[in-house]
Amino acid sequence: MSHDGRVLVRVEKLKKHFPITRGFLISRQVGAVKAVDGVSFDIHEGETLGLVGESGCGKSTTGRAILQLHKPTAGRVFFEDIDLTSLKAEELRVLRPKMQMIFQDPYSSLNPRHTVLKIVGEPMVINGYGDNHKIKERVYDLLDMVGLKRMHANRFPHEFSGGQRQRIGIARALALNPRFIVCDEPISALDVSIQAQVVNLLEDLQKELGLTYLFIAHDLSMVRHISHRVAVMYLGKVVELADRQTLFEDPLHPYTQALISAVPVPDPKIERQRIQIILEGEVPSPANPPSGCVFSTRCPLVKDICSQVEPEYREARPDHYVSCHLVDSDLGSSKIIS
């Protein structure tokens, strides 16, 4: 699995703040929801970068801001060394076919009044792929590729199950031969036995077509399974990023440790013996994040400095990024369970 591929997507200090406004006719901004607050990472060609975190941590917003579906408040996003944030809408449109998205909810992301042929064919119509006949042929090929039958082309979304709908969404994303796909929780709405089908399909397609994925999810075991590297987000910030093995076996940030520990293991013997880290409280509001380290309000190892100074996001080990004051400091260990 290629970790050494060249950088396809580079995200630099990306921020996305949503304004909070008051007033009816004359509205004024009274604050901002800091959904994404300065995240940086690279995605290499042919790899899957997993992006995990709890609801409201900004992982979906990050995915959308990379594709410029949300205009970033600050920061830059490079795709094939082109700065997407500086492009005009027209220039961006030329690049769009190369970056696509698979959505979480296969029920609301497909137009109920369109047939599968129209849904999957639409990106090709918009981008002038060819005449109707050519588009139809391509749709058939795509349906084959995602494991649907050609006769499905004339059916409507409601005739399909959740897993099949997600396959339609994948076919649509593949229509224009993209290089990069943002998968925004593509399996969260599916049953366990169906999740495995979709994940296997995504893995096969990656091998076949050399795709690069940003895989957004909250299911850590699935992220570990599919990703080459994993970034952990908390309250709008990436708190840790490392390759899969390192992140799960030697997590440095206390939040990553707690998150991994909170995942129940489907094995009663392990589950009874292991010591679980149970965090107190819940994620603070991104409209009013705590000062200093964003995790300081829930961190079991919190020190004075944590609530005062924001920790720097740095490369603590080779290719292992973390933002925590305690890592390699004389304040004490960053491990909750040593």
Binding site: Q164, D191, S193, V265, K269, I278
Partner: protein, 340 residues
């Protein structure tokens, strides 16, 4: 964790529930039987539409009738003194069982709580109704209950409305309501599905603590085999409205006997697995519940299915100590079983 079986408090036999809809009859629950012992935790596992929730709602007569109809079965509830068939109770009698003898926690705490009443009122309501407490006593007890479920600042929070709480806190309120009258059975219907993992861990921890403190038997409905491993004594796997396998938790994870259970366990990526392997997927989709089951419901997706599987419905069959499976094929030895 595992409690020694003492006495059975719930014995469900051949429960069958149908829904008459415009499109036809939905065969939601097809002859489900199980027992629940005092103080034990039974996990009911299955995918959406397998009938796990409808089974529990039927027992409490909580499915809307019509369109729903319980066409067959018994749910015998032993409260130490007498045995009652919950399905045969009158509306007013079953109301004394709900909340008083059997508490229930729902999946979505936001839609299950009344948005225009304070949470204090919603908890104390059942105390006044079922336990005959005065309003003052109920208020005091409610604050104790809120404390018990880990609500910080319980006294103040009594007067808050549901929208003022986060998802995890709302679920704590739901739990307080469910345990208010110290029920014998607590049914938890996917209580953590809508929550984040770190909050899920808090809730699972809380329910296990309460179970041990109050000695309540828990029926935990879930689709997450991970949660089950930590909390359950016994597991019951459902598919297409039927129980396909039932076993002690260790036995089920080590020796799954039904191809569906086996497939489900294979479909899960393991967090502590260093080598990445291809996930075992169960091809196909869940059964169409509009069709009356006449053979094994899993046969459509089963790689081991042979003639008999398409001819009759397999019944639960003893394959080990407290381990039953409804399958004609012996996956461990790779040949059909001798099932009567």
């Amino acid at each position: 964790m595992s409690t020694q079986p003492t006495s059975t408090i719930l014995d469900v036999r051949n429960l069958t529930t149908r829904f008459n809809t415009l499109d036809g009859i939905v065969h939601a629950v097809n002859g489900v039987s199980f027992t629940l012992d005092e103080g034990e935790t039974l996990a009911v596992v299955g995918e959406s539409g397998c009938g796990k929730s409808v089974t529990m709602l039927s027992i409490l007569q909580m499915i809307p009738q019509p369109p729903g109809k319980i066409t067959d079965g018994q749910a015998l509830f032993f409260d130490g003194l007498a045995t009652r068939d919950l399905l045969a109770l009158s509306k007013s009698d079953i109301r004394h069982v709900r909340g008083r003898e059997i508490g229930i926690i729902f999946q979505d705490p936001l839609t299950s709580l009344n948005p225009v009443l304070t949470i204090g009122l919603q908890i104390s309501e059942s105390l006044v109704e079922h336990m005959g407490l005065s309003e003052n006593q109920a208020h005091k007890r409610t604050v104790e209950l809120l404390d018990m479920v880990g609500m910080p600042d319980a006294q103040k929070r009594y007067n808050n409305y549901p929208h003022q709480f986060s998802g995890g806190m709302r679920q704590r309120v739901m739990i307080a309501i469910a345990i208010a009258c110290l029920p014998k059975i607590l049914i938890a219907d996917e209580p953590t599905t809508a929550l984040d993992v770190t909050v899920q861990a808090q809730i699972v921890d809380l329910v296990s603590k309460l179970r041990d403190e109050l000695g309540v038997a828990v029926i935990w409905i879930t689709h997450d085999l991970g949660v089950v491993a930590g909390i359950a004594d016994r597991v019951m796997v459902m598919y297409g409205g039927q129980v396909v396998e039932r076993a002690l938790v260790d036995e089920l994870y080590e020796h799954p006997q039904h191809p569906y259970t086996n497939g489900l366990l294979g479909a899960l990526p393991k967090l502590y697995e260093s080598e990445s392997r291809r996930l075992v997927s169960i091809e196909g989709t869940p059964p169409d519940l509009y069709i009356e089951p006449k053979h094994c419901q899993f046969a459509y997706r089963c790689t081991f299915a042979f003639e008999r599987c398409w001819e009759e419905i397999p019944q639960l069959f003893e394959v080990g100590k407290r381990h039953k499976v409804a399958c004609f094929y012996d996956i461990e030895n790779g040949r059909p079983r001798h099932v009567p």
